[in-house]
């Protein structure tokens, strides 16, 4: 029997505002990406040409297949630049608003810091810091809940990967202090 009088509502207190101004349009990003891909295609084509993109006595040289793929990538990217300029619809579409970008950065920057911390502190301590910090700072969740969740998650990951499944993970001074 359905029980619809119980309603689940999960509200996000940090949801982005509706009328936030656009940072850039889809057209600008499309053109920028196509240009980057074009540059990449030229660099890869050059590298493959240098490696050898023709035939020798044993058959096609190592750069043969990727060279022609670079040419295709370059051609499609050039077409993409033209298509983006000609499309009026794309020019009007917002790629990201300022509020949205702020939220994306709120995940991306901690993730970047987490990757840096991982190299020095090991994955489990870095995970603890990321989860606790993110829950507290971005999610405005109580300190004790954030710390407890971060500790439990990191501990479960450690037991699962390092102990049960024997998958070696990067470790730091804390694990070394405990003999791992």
């Amino acid at each position: 029997m359905s029980n619809t009088e119980l309603e689940i509502a999960v509200d996000d207190p940090t949801a982005p505002e509706e009328n936030s101004p656009a940072v850039t349009s889809n057209r600008n990003v499309d053109v920028a990406v196509s240009l980057l891909l074009l540059v990449l295609a030229i660099v890869l084509a050059w590298d493959n040409w240098r490696t050898g993109a023709s035939w020798d006595s044993t058959g096609p040289e190592p750069g043969y297949f990727p060279f022609y793929l670079s040419v295709i990538l370059g051609g499609a990217s050039l077409y993409g630049i033209g298509a983006a300029f000609l499309s009026s619809k794309e020019a009007l579409e917002t790629f990201v608003t300022r509020a949205q970008l702020r939220r994306v950065m709120a995940v991306f920057v901690p993730t970047l810091l987490f990757c840096i911390a991982m190299q020095f502190l090991g994955i489990y301590v870095a995970s603890f810091l990321l989860i606790a910090g993110f829950m507290r700072v971005v999610g405005k969740i109580a300190w004790w809940k954030s710390l407890l969740t971060a500790f439990l998650f990191s501990a479960v990951m450690f037991v699962t990967f390092d102990i049960v499944f024997d998958v070696l993970m990067p470790k730091g001074p804390l694990e070394a202090a405990f003999g791992y």
Partner: protein
């Protein structure tokens, strides 16, 4: 009949307590990732793949495929209760599923969704059971030109039949193929596209790319959106289940039609998204009361769910029989097979019978267990959405980093994953499709090997791809599919000379 005997052998391989436990764990994890916003089948499988590295291949693939089934089931929960399609193929389910939930029929809608998922998958698994051995024994006669022609067919059909801008699919595919070639050339041992980096010597592992492209980019995208969820809670009683099942024969035509559409679009790389929409649209078109669709009609749940799941499952058929995945998730599973040293394709059926038939048996069992599991635990899984996203997001990031690092124990891969996360975010926003990109990354080196071998055989003559009826037919079909939009427009303008060409495109 031989297939039945082998299938029974598969069940014998499978029915151990350890494998059954892994199956349950996989299903629970799968429903979990299916329900969580920002995750789904391919992401869940990619992120959880490292868990299976220390297992034997059969246990590992059973667990991974159960994560996949679980994620497929889980997607329906959010679509119906919260009007949030976890995956693009769940969009059509929201059309009638959510209105049903609003009318107090959430339990009926969920039962219909799970049951039709089960039926769709079952039809596809039956197809795999009887067709895969036949296709693989046929494919044993394939040489390098035939294999390259099949790869070409796959690539061309993505370009020709895909809904995205053609040049964007070409960009995604050529970029994927190029990245697959980074590192040491397998034939000559020469380094390519490494630019002096020792980290790039190993090449770009496609799983690292996939974790970034799907996992990290989804987190970025999900954070960007408003996450104020409002939905309906539901619990399912046995009486509701039996009532829905009693009505099933009334919808046999819808179920059959959707199953056929799903299987077809799963084997060809049409995909589950196209299957679900086509299933829904055809159910509406053949209905006596098409206007009632979109207002909470149970058939509107049956049709897309059956088609999507038939398609998702049938995508495993070309992966197993030919080594060519029919979907993004199948591509990730294929990558998993390679990690365990298995070579997907026709020889798999000869060299690793236990593995193949254990996997096929797990598809039957996983679906049955999955159906019972989701029917009995919907409220628990639905309540996962109460967990604040600020807690879920960093946990997913950590899981992604663990996954990326574990593949080759390299920190460089974690950085690469982050880079692919940004690429995935931008690509998704400007609609460069990720499925052909993933497919090309997985198949790149195999396609190149087949091409080079064909060229060596023929002394560089492209005629090798038309050397016999089989390879010629596949290559010609590939070219026809590549130019399909043009051909379609031409056919439309010939059959209706007055009709504008734009109609054909629409």
């Amino acid at each position: 009949m031989e297939a039945l005997g082998l299938l029974l052998h598969g069940f014998a391989v499978l029915l151990t307590w350890k494998t059954l436990l892994l199956m349950m764990v996989g299903l629970v994890l799968g429903v979990f990732v299916g329900v969580l916003p920002g995750l789904g089948g391919p992401n869940g499988v990619a992120i959880l793949l490292p868990l299976t590295f220390s297992m034997d291949p059969t246990s590992a693939i059973v667990m991974l495929s159960c994560i996949y089934w679980g994620a497929l089931f889980g997607g329906a929960i959010t679509s119906i209760l919260f009007n949030i399609p976890g995956e693009a193929w769940s969009v059509a389910t929201t059309f009638d599923g959510y209105p049903m939930a609003q009318q107090g029929k959430a339990a009926e809608a969920l039962t219909a969704a799970f049951t039709s998922s089960f039926i769709g998958s079952l039809v596809a698994v039956l197809l795999i059971t009887f067709l895969a051995p036949w296709i693989s024994s046929f494919a044993l006669k394939f040489g390098p030109p035939e294999f390259f022609a099949v790869y070409l067919l796959t690539f061309c059909s993505f370009v020709g039949l895909g809904r995205e801008d053609k040049h964007k699919t070409v960009i995604a595919m050529s970029l994927g193929l190029l990245l697959a070639g980074v590192g040491m050339d397998t034939v000559s041992g020469q380094l390519r596209m490494t630019f002096g980096s020792t980290d790039l010597l190993r090449g770009i592992n496609f799983l690292v790319a996939v974790i970034g492209l799907f996992g990290i980019s989804e987190i970025l995208l999900t954070m960007e959106e408003r996450l104020a969820l409002r939905g309906h809670a539901a619990s399912i009683s046995l009486r509701t289940v039996l009532a829905v099942w009693k009505d099933l024969p009334k919808y046999w035509m819808t179920l059959l039609r959707s199953s056929v559409i799903g299987c077809w679009l799963g084997i060809t790389p049409g995909g589950a998204i196209a299957a679900s929409f086509m299933g829904y649209n055809l159910a509406k078109r053949f209905s006596k009361d098409p206007d009632s669709f979109g207002k909470g009609r149970i058939e509107g749940v049956f049709a897309p769910e059956t088609a999507a799941h038939a398609s998702g499952t049938a995508a495993l058929l070309p992966m197993l029989a030919l080594g060519i995945p029919g979907s993004g998730t199948a591509a990730i599973l294929l990558g998993g097979l390679m990690v365990w040293g298995l070579n997907p394709g026709p020889l798999l059926f000869v060299e690793h019978k236990d593995f193949v038939w254990g996997l096929i048996a797990s598809m039957y069992l996983g679906n049955v267990v999955g159906l019972v599991l989701v029917l009995s635990t919907v409220p628990i899984f639905a309540s996962i959405l109460r967990v604040p996203f600020a807690a879920v997001a960093p946990m997913i990031v950590v899981s992604c980093a663990i996954g990326a690092y574990a593949i080759q124990n390299a920190m460089f891969d974690v950085w690469l994953m982050l880079g692919f996360g940004v690429v995935g975010y931008v690509f998704k926003k400007i609609k460069i499709p990720l499925a052909p990109f993933t497919l090309a990354l997985v198949l790149g080196s195999r396609a190149e090997d087949a091409f080079r071998q064909s060229m060596i055989i023929s002394g560089g003559n492209m005629k090798v791809f038309w050397a016999n009826g089989l390879v010629g037919t596949i290559t010609t079909l590939a070219i026809l599919l590549l130019f399909w939009p043009l051909i379609d427009r031409l056919i439309a303008s010939i059959s209706k000379p007055g009709a504008p060409a734009a109609k054909a495109e629409a």
